[in-house]
């Protein structure tokens, strides 16, 4: 487990950071928040590149920073490899030498994937002899990922690794990130302000605003809450981890199983049995008190109304619906609440168009 508690102030009246959280020993923990919320400063302090005024950073019980005891471990001795937004490849070294930079400095007993394995994982075979100046933005970031992984770190730190890329390059690199996450047996701390990256990669989320932690927990749990700034987003909605159950080529549908039911969505590329995480936007979910008939919508699911948001302050209201053990969100007008007499405990039908489902991360090209 990674424990982080930091207090830092920039300038006398400047930005104040006061955040503490923990991250589990495996999986991806996303530090999520708007620009300037302090998430990159937190990452720099964990890496040892920023010395906070006070705080403590510990991994698996071993303190690397503890200002109360006057302890500060230099960044090169923490073995927390970092991936930066701007890649920061060494311009005078070839891609191969960049990849080996951390590997050559890793302790002999450190374990992790080997050079060939990482090169294959990130599809870098054909660029090994090149200088970073001759790489595309996406290739550069893939080399940076491989270089960090090959340093055999105990913790991977990623500071908005996709933020400097255009949409096409992001789509190119994201699948490789998902692959790296599955290949790395170490925790990853991932800073981002892009919710789709959280959806695609993160298990845990630490929600930050103005230097403070608003909430932390499993991504699914935080997405289903209506009391966080996340709910104010256009893409607010529940996250469901689904299993690809069946493909129907004739009807052009894929069946997705989730705890508490099954969705039909337009045909997807993933193989049967694989996992896909689906963001079900609250504005795409309608509620009916009777089962609708003669409707194009593929998914009409029996649900129980768990909670109805405050209808006095806003013309739009969040509903929490239980489908078995899963909670999904629906966003309806205040008028609909009154018209249908919606109240907690009511049995309703959740109506979800198949085409509203986002395409999740496409699988990476075969190695």
């Amino acid at each position: 487990m990674l424990e982080v508690a930091l207090r830092h102030r920039y300038g006398r009246a400047g930005f104040a950071l006061d955040a503490s959280f923990t991250a589990p020993a495996t999986g991806v923990t996303a530090l999520f928040g708007p620009s300037g919320c302090g998430k990159s400063s937190i990452l720099a302090a964990v890496a040892g590149l920023l010395r906070p005024e006070s705080g403590r950073v510990a991994l698996a019980g071993e303190a690397l920073l503890d200002t109360a005891r006057g302890l500060f471990t230099a960044p090169e001795r923490r073995r927390f490899a970092m991936v930066f937004q701007d890649a920061r490849l060494f311009p005078h070294l070839s891609v191969a030498a960049n990849l080996r930079y951390g590997l050559r400095r890793a302790p002999a007993q450190a374990t992790g994937p080997g050079f060939e394995e990482v090169v294959a994982l990130l599809g870098l075979e054909h660029v090994l002899a090149r200088r970073p100046g001759r790489l595309s933005g996406g290739e550069r970031q893939r080399v940076a990922l491989g270089r960090a992984l090959l340093a055999r770190p105990r913790l991977l730190l990623m500071d908005e690794p996709l933020a400097a890329l255009d949409a096409a390059r992001r789509a190119e690199v994201l699948p490789f990130l998902a692959r790296l996450r599955d290949a790395a047996a170490i925790p990853i701390l991932y800073v981002t302000h892009a919710l789709d990256e959280v959806d695609a990669l993160a298990d845990q989320m630490v929600l930050l605003a103005e230097g403070r932690v608003l909430a932390q927990g499993p991504v699914e749990a935080l997405a289903a809450r209506t009391d966080l700034p996340l709910a104010a987003r256009r893409d607010a909605g529940a996250l469901l981890t689904c299993r690809i159950a069946a493909h129907d080529q004739v009807r052009g549908l894929t069946q997705l199983d989730f705890p508490g039911g099954r969705f039909a969505v337009p045909l997807r590329a993933e193989p049967i049995g694989s996992q896909a995480r689906i963001r079900l936007r609250a504005r795409d979910v309608a509620v009916a008190t009777e089962p609708p008939r003669g409707i194009s919508t593929q998914n009409v699911l029996a649900a129980q109304l768990v909670s109805v948001g405050d209808a006095t302050s806003s013309p739009e209201v969040f509903l929490q619906l239980a489908l078995g053990p899963s909670i999904i969100l629906a966003r309806v007008t205040r008028d609909s609440i009154a018209r249908l007499g919606l109240r907690p405990g009511l049995a309703v039908w959740a109506v979800i168009k198949a085409v509203t489902f986002d395409h999740a991360v496409p699988p990476p090209p075969p190695p």
Partner: protein, 230 residues
């Protein structure tokens, strides 16, 4: 072009003095450039001014200052001579020292420029990959600032070939010992009928300086390509 033995001697001596002066000042120049570019200490501005003094005071004054410090009775020259038997005044070594002091600001400026072009973010990346401060300097900072170091060295070498005032004041004008090209030219102009000698030496002086500057430019371009910025 045919040169007399004495004229060749002046050319060789100039190359010798300029080479030695660059070798002597290179490492201190890198250290001073580092302190000026990255250091956070009181007196940084004073150090900056001190380094640049030879650019703004008359070279004769620099020579006089060296004479005071490194003369046989000077605070540095006396112990050097008594303990190690090293005498700098009126020697080739002294000419190299005077040249080194004069060209020091040129090297420092070029090295500092090279250092300021190195993104400290790359050093942070190296640190997170397990490189110690010395390791980071040797494998990241030094290679990336090397165009600045080379450019500084070549410029200082070219300028060092022509150092006059400080050399003649501190090391005097001794043929074969301290009489470099500019001193030989000066001597020729003071000698009746020496115009031809002065002309030949001036042409050589000009050619060497031009070659130095062209070399510096070529090295800079070559390094940019090697460092993957081209």
């Amino acid at each position: 072009m045919i040169l007399s033995g004495e004229e060749w001697q002046a050319v060789r001596l100039s190359l010798d003095v300029a080479t030695r002066s660059v070798l002597v000042s290179l490492i201190p120049a890198v250290a001073v450039a580092w302190a000026l570019a990255r250091g956070r200490f009181a007196g940084r501005m004073l150090l900056d001014a001190l380094v640049h003094v030879p650019l703004v005071v008359p070279p004769v004054v620099v020579g006089w200052g060296l004479l005071m410090l490194f003369g046989l009775r000077g605070p540095i020259g006396a112990p050097l001579y008594e303990w190690f038997g090293i005498r700098l005044v009126f020697t080739t070594g002294g000419a190299a020292l005077a040249t080194a002091v004069m060209s020091f600001p040129l090297i420092v400026r070029a090295v500092r420029l090279g250092l300021e072009n190195v993104d400290p973010g790359l050093e942070a990346a190296a640190a997170s990959l397990g490189a110690s401060p010395l390791d980071r300097f040797l494998t990241v900072t030094l290679p990336l600032m090397s165009p600045g170091i080379l450019a500084g060295a070549v410029t200082a070498f070219a300028a060092g070939l022509g150092e006059f005032g400080a050399v003649i004041t501190f090391a005097a004008n001794i043929p074969g010992e301290t009489q470099t090209l500019p001193l030989a030219i000066y001597t020729a102009t003071q000698t009746p009928g020496g115009e031809a000698v002065a002309g030949r030496l001036a042409l050589i002086s000009f050619t060497l300086a031009m070659l130095g500057l062209l070399l510096a430019e070529w090295i800079a371009r070559r390094m940019h390509m090697l460092l993957g910025r081209g």
